[in-house]
């Protein structure tokens, strides 16, 4: 089955958007927000560190999920072009 050129262009744009979203999610996962203990005057560092750890896990997991969605979209496009 072949797609008409307009439909193909639309799918390519969607893939490009997903690719960009995956790139940004990867970048955030690779550099999660983090403050060392020296940056704190009060005793809040440990609570912050706990939340920062959970956030870093979330960002990694989101990056992975966006990557999977991107792969799925590519697969669907390939199926449509076949």
């Amino acid at each position: 089955m072949s797609l008409d050129p307009a439909e193909l262009a639309r799918i390519r744009t969607q893939l490009a958007t997903l690719s960009r979203l995956e790139y940004d999610a990867d970048a955030r996962a690779g550099d999660p927000p983090r403050l060392g203990p020296d940056a704190w005057r009060g005793p809040a560092f440990q609570a912050y560190d706990l939340v920062a750890d959970l956030l870093a896990d979330d960002l990694r997991s989101i990056a992975s999920d966006v990557g999977k969605a991107h792969a799925l979209a590519r697969m669907e496009m390939a199926r449509g072009l076949a």
């Binding site: 969607q14 999610a25 955030r28 060392g36 005057r41 609570a47 669907e76």
Partner: protein, 465 residues
């Protein structure tokens, strides 16, 4: 290179929020991250609508939901940091105030036994200096050999409490403690370091003593050059603060614009309590802290007038040590159009300033000279604090009061120039722009004047004249 610095503690205007430069620089990054996550979550949601119901759309919807959740977590994390630091700053202020109140109360209650110890340390020290050269040499030698004894935040806090309680110890002999509490720093604020300094110098003047006795001053222009580049950053401004030529004034002129000026004021040149020829002396220190018109303040104002600075001329003042007292007093006088104030190791923090004066006040938490000015009230400037010699670091033994030395403040100024928090960067940009706005223009000119002042011997001005 800009980089967050955990060693710099930044007190925002009004001291409502106090945090390290690193933490303050982190807050906008979190806000930006939350915005970016929300933006991407919206894009994921829109993208999802382009696909038919099925596994891909479900996957994209799940990504959208989790990205929104992450943005929410980041916003709550940021709010939590602010709440925690606000709470810590409040708890810190409360704890200090309680200790101060207890200390003042105890001083007032035990005043009858504390009388001889009650005079401000500077005055006692000054009397020692005046009376006994050998003792002076012994004290200097001991201080040089044991810099760790006087170089810590704890010692600075002790000095602050002693100078604050000095008036309580004297007056506690004649009035009940509760009256002192009502009138003191934590009550109506009518008594305090300034009052003590004013009384001491006033009594000295009335007795006709040569110690701490103010005199008239004369000022002479001793240098003039054209073509100086404007200073960029805190370190360059501090480096321009003069020594022997006590006042340096830079005039920035541009066609069609009002002249602007930067005035740099020197630190103490003589620690003798007996007024000699040098106006930047101990007398000016104590008179200045007392909120009165010291020789160095009058000399600087004379130099400013001689350089062509009028009441409406925009001025930025830069002072180190006694220069800080002078610049605070000139700003507080309301006679000049002060647009910015930058001080280093300034014991004049109790001098009242008009609202809205921008700039930075740089202090070392282990510099007890700053503490001799007493408790520093909140101001509209950004206050940057740093411990010059953190625990375990080597403290120089070749100079007295290492944390007050200009080279220690020069290191802090360099760190300030590299600081990342918006609060510091904003003030630096403001102060830099003051001079640079003109210097880039066609036919702009920078002229530097240097001034030397002397006390006029054989006469007494009386305090406050």
């Amino acid at each position: 290179m800009v980089s967050p610095d955990p060693s710099l503690v930044v007190r925002m205007p009004g001291e409502v929020f106090v945090a390290t430069d690193e933490l303050l620089a982190h807050l906008p990054l979190l806000a930006e991250l939350a915005d970016d996550l929300e933006h991407d979550a919206h894009r994921l949601g829109l993208l999802s609508l382009d696909y038919p119901l099925g596994p891909l759309r479900k996957a994209l919807d799940e990504c959208e939901r989790r990205t929104f959740d992450a943005a929410d977590t980041v916003r709550r994390l940021r709010a939590g940091i602010i709440t925690a630091e606000l709470g810590y700053a409040q708890a810190e202020r409360t704890a200090i105030a309680l200790v101060d109140v207890a200390s003042n109360w105890a001083t007032a209650v035990f005043a009858p036994w504390l009388g001889p110890l009650a005079l401000p340390p500077l005055v006692v020290g000054g009397a020692m200096v005046a009376s006994d050269q050998d003792r002076r040499a012994a004290v200097t030698s001991w201080i040089l050999d044991h810099p760790e004894a006087i170089t810590s935040p704890e010692f600075s806090a002790l000095v602050r409490r002693v100078v604050t309680g000095a008036d309580d110890a004297i007056l506690g002999r004649i009035v009940p403690p509760w009256v002192l509490m009502l009138l003191g720093d934590h009550g109506l604020g009518l008594l305090g370091v300034g009052t003590t300094a004013a009384v001491v110098t006033g009594v000295s003047a009335r007795l006709g003593a040569r110690v701490l006795n103010e005199t008239p001053v004369s000022v002479e222009r001793v240098g003039s050059t054209v073509g100086t580049a404007p200073p960029a950053g805190a370190a360059e401004r501090l480096a321009r603060v003069p020594e022997e030529k006590q006042v340096r004034i830079e005039r920035y002129s541009a066609p069609g614009e009002e002249d602007r000026f930067i005035v740099y004021v020197a630190p103490t040149q003589s620690f003798s309590p007996v007024a000699g020829e040098e106006p930047w002396d101990l007398t000016s220190n104590i008179v200045g802290v007392g909120g009165l018109s010291s020789g160095s303040i009058r000399a600087t104002e004379q130099a400013m007038a001689e350089a062509g600075i009028g009441p409406e001329s925009p001025v930025v003042l830069v002072g180190y040590s006694q220069g800080g007292i002078v610049t605070d007093a000139i700003t507080g006088s309301g006679r000049w159009n002060v647009k910015g104030l930058e001080t280093y190791g300034d014991p004049g923090g109790t001098i009242a300033l008009p609202d809205g004066v921008r700039g930075v006040a740089v202090r070392h938490s282990d510099d007890f000279v700053v503490a001799t000015g007493g408790p520093q009230p909140p101001v509209d400037r950004v206050i940057v604090e740093r411990r010059a010699f953190p625990e375990g670091s080597a403290i120089p033994t070749d100079k007295p009061v290492p944390a007050h030395q200009k080279d220690a403040y020069a290191e802090t100024a360099r760190r300030i120039d590299d600081a990342a928090s918006p609060a510091i960067r904003g003030e630096l940009a403001y102060l830099d722009a003051f001079a640079r706005d003109y210097s880039g223009r066609e036919a702009a000119e920078v002229t530097t004047f240097e001034y030397r002042a002397e006390r006029v011997s054989g006469s007494s001005s009386g305090v406050g004249r």
